[in-house]
């Protein structure tokens, strides 16, 4: 018992000592979407190297989680793949600004031996997810993929088990191209999926698809690339079949710039234009316009300015598309309205 007490006292002493170090640094907590976590962690790390007194601690707990914690004021900033709804904005104790940071894409992945690269359009994808198309050699799929070897296998549909921004982007697109989807399932981070298995996280979905022959799913582009899963091209509003690349995703945002709302809360799925990838989306950082802690506010504003300029160069390597210059310009103006003192 005596030895136990001594060990404990030493540990407690060490803990107190260590917690004393670093008392002058300013730590800011943020939470939100998992999708931009890789680029955000790069940004916060680079920013910390340039400004050692600034520690920005971001945790990917999910878009909705980020919104909720921001409203509860347990974190200073949030991050989301799907813009806040009017009800959510009303529940927040202050005005919340949406600031786009990068662009991402959701791609249809599939596991079909010998099929090569497949083409899809919104209607076909919606019908597959509605359970109306059940076999790979269905006429609708064959029509888009003349010459491809499509077996008579059953399609195993995979979706996200939990609520997620990725799902939001996917169903947002489906609802725009299929009125039946809009009616039957709707648009939300979690819907009542008519058919399919639920995989946990992007990782769970890619894992299930990789291991289940004849399956189809949807994941963020970076997951398909990193796990080397086949993903198809999707027909955009102009009729072209486009694969998700950095260029085609940035093009989707460029097309939306003309009608960009002042608060940046816009969906860019199924955007018109040449070379546009139709299942693209902004991901936003959420900041209060007039937060209580002005010191943290100043730090965050400085950070976002850096992220929108110097930070963008890190995006393509990590599988994200940088923002078009016009959007950055509009954002800088909005950043100026945040109270920092």
């Amino acid at each position: 018992m005596r030895a136990c007490q001594r060990v404990f006292a030493t540990l407690a002493g060490l803990a107190l000592l260590v917690s004393g170090i670093g008392a002058q640094t300013i730590q800011i907590n943020g939470a939100g979407a998992t999708f931009p976590n890789p680029i955000y962690s790069k940004w916060f790390s680079e920013y910390n190297k340039a400004n050692p007194k600034v520690q920005i601690n971001y945790q990917p707990i999910g878009s909705g989680g980020g919104i909720r914690q921001l409203s509860n004021q347990t974190v200073f900033f949030g991050a989301t793949d799907g813009p806040m709804t009017p009800e959510q904005m009303q529940q927040a104790p202050g005005k919340v600004l949406h600031l786009p940071t990068v662009l991402g894409a959701v791609v249809p992945i599939y596991n079909l031996q010998g099929a090569g690269e497949l083409k899809f359009n919104g209607q076909v994808l919606a019908d597959i997810y509605l359970g109306k198309i059940t076999k790979w050699n269905d006429a609708a799929i064959a029509k888009l993929n003349a010459g491809a070897k499509l077996p008579a296998t059953d399609i195993t549909v995979v979706h996200r088990a939990e609520a997620s921004g990725t799902s939001y982007i996917w169903v947002d697109f489906l609802a725009k191209v299929s009125p039946e989807w809009l009616k039957k399932a709707g648009v939300a981070t979690s819907v009542n999926w008519p058919v399919g298995l639920g995989g946990k996280g992007n990782e769970g979905v890619s894992g299930l698809v990789q291991q289940t022959p004849g399956s189809i799913g949807y994941v963020e582009l970076i997951y398909a690339i990193q796990n080397k899963i086949s993903y198809g091209s999707v027909q955009n509003a102009d009729g072209e079949f486009v694969r998700a690349t950095v260029q085609s995703v940035t093009a989707a945002a460029g097309a939306a710039v003309k009608n960009m709302p002042k608060d940046f809360r816009v969906s860019i799925t199924n955007a018109p234009g040449k070379g546009v990838y139709p299942i693209s989306s902004f991901t936003w950082l959420l900041l209060y316009e007039n937060p209580k802690d002005k010191a943290q506010s100043k730090v965050m504003v400085d950070f976002v300015k850096w992220a929108l300029t110097d930070g963008q160069k890190f995006a393509p390597d990590l599988g994200y598309a940088p923002l078009p210059a016009e959007v950055v310009k509009l954002e800088m103006a909005v950043l100026g309205t945040i109270k920092v003192s």
Partner: protein, 283 residues
């Protein structure tokens, strides 16, 4: 075949079946350990234990903050769970028939069945929301609450099994109830209680969900109880659901460290138990 032979055969069959049961349990254990070690061993290096996490593409990241964080969370949680659990178990065993004892037994069993995420949400409501701050303290509170039912139940069952003769002997020598319990009954039941504590520690060391909304997580090194703190489980979870092979390797290394940590706790407990048993039987 006479009845004696039947009985003997039955006995032999049971002996073999129980040995088989042990083997059956060892198969998944072997598979999982192999899985974790094969993927995690080669990512373990000195940097892992001394550095903070780094973004993708940079070399030399580590989980030093998570290791310290997990130790702190488990330590703080155990600090309040062990006394509460043991004392409650003693009460339930010693005063078994009373209404309070029955309520305590119910409560402990129910608490054991509450999903870890519900406990996390509960602690979020009482310890995070009112102060608008995620903290290591809240995390350890959630973990401690999860430990209590296991410790209580084990303590209760083992104290009940201590023979009445031991208690009566102590009381006959003039000890008070409290003294008899502290000096005679608890030490007799100690080996089993320690097993219960180790089980509880193992259980919470591997939990993620209750920490997500209480201790949050921390990219940076922190040992302050009032600030968010990193933990091996949450960090492993975050890495595992990412798309990068590097982060996956870090996740496996983290899982390996976690399992080793709990194994060490178990070894220490086992040594302590053996010492106690030797003291009791006078070897």
């Amino acid at each position: 075949m006479n009845r004696d032979t039947i009985r003997r055969v039955r006995s032999t069959v049971v002996v073999w079946l129980s040995g088989l049961a042990v083997l059956l349990a060892l198969v998944p254990l072997g598979m999982i350990l192999f899985f974790v070690v094969a993927r995690g061993l080669f990512s373990l290096n000195l940097a892992f234990f001394t550095h903070m996490p780094v973004p993708v593409g940079e070399a030399g990241g580590g989980m030093a903050n998570s290791i310290v964080g997990t130790l702190m969370l488990i330590g703080m949680g155990a600090l309040f769970a062990i006394p509460v659990g043991v004392i409650s178990g003693v009460y339930a065993a010693e005063f078994g028939g009373t209404r309070l004892a029955t309520m305590v037994q119910f409560a402990a069993d129910t608490l054991n069945g509450v999903p870890s995420i519900v406990i996390g949400v509960f602690v979020y409501g009482i310890a995070v929301l009112p102060v608008k701050q995620f903290s290591a303290f809240a995390g350890s509170l959630a973990l401690g609450i999860m430990m209590i039912p296991i410790i209580t139940r084990t303590t209760e069952e083992l104290v009940k099994l201590v023979p009445m003769s031991l208690r009566e002997g102590a009381l006959a020598l003039g000890a008070t109830r409290a003294r008899a319990t502290m000096s005679v009954v608890l030490p007799a039941a100690a080996p089993g209680i320690i097993t219960g504590v180790v089980l509880a520690l193992a259980r919470i060391a591997g939990e993620t969900a209750p920490l997500l909304f209480t201790a949050f997580n921390n990219r940076f090194f922190s040992t302050s109880p009032g600030q968010p703190i990193s933990s091996l489980t949450v960090q492993v979870f975050t890495y595992a659901i990412s798309p990068y092979e590097e982060w996956h390797r870090q996740a496996w290394a983290g899982a390996l460290v976690l399992v080793t940590l709990v194994l060490m706790c178990s070894i220490l407990a086992r040594l302590a138990t053996r010492r106690l048993e030797r003291l009791q039987t006078g070897q």
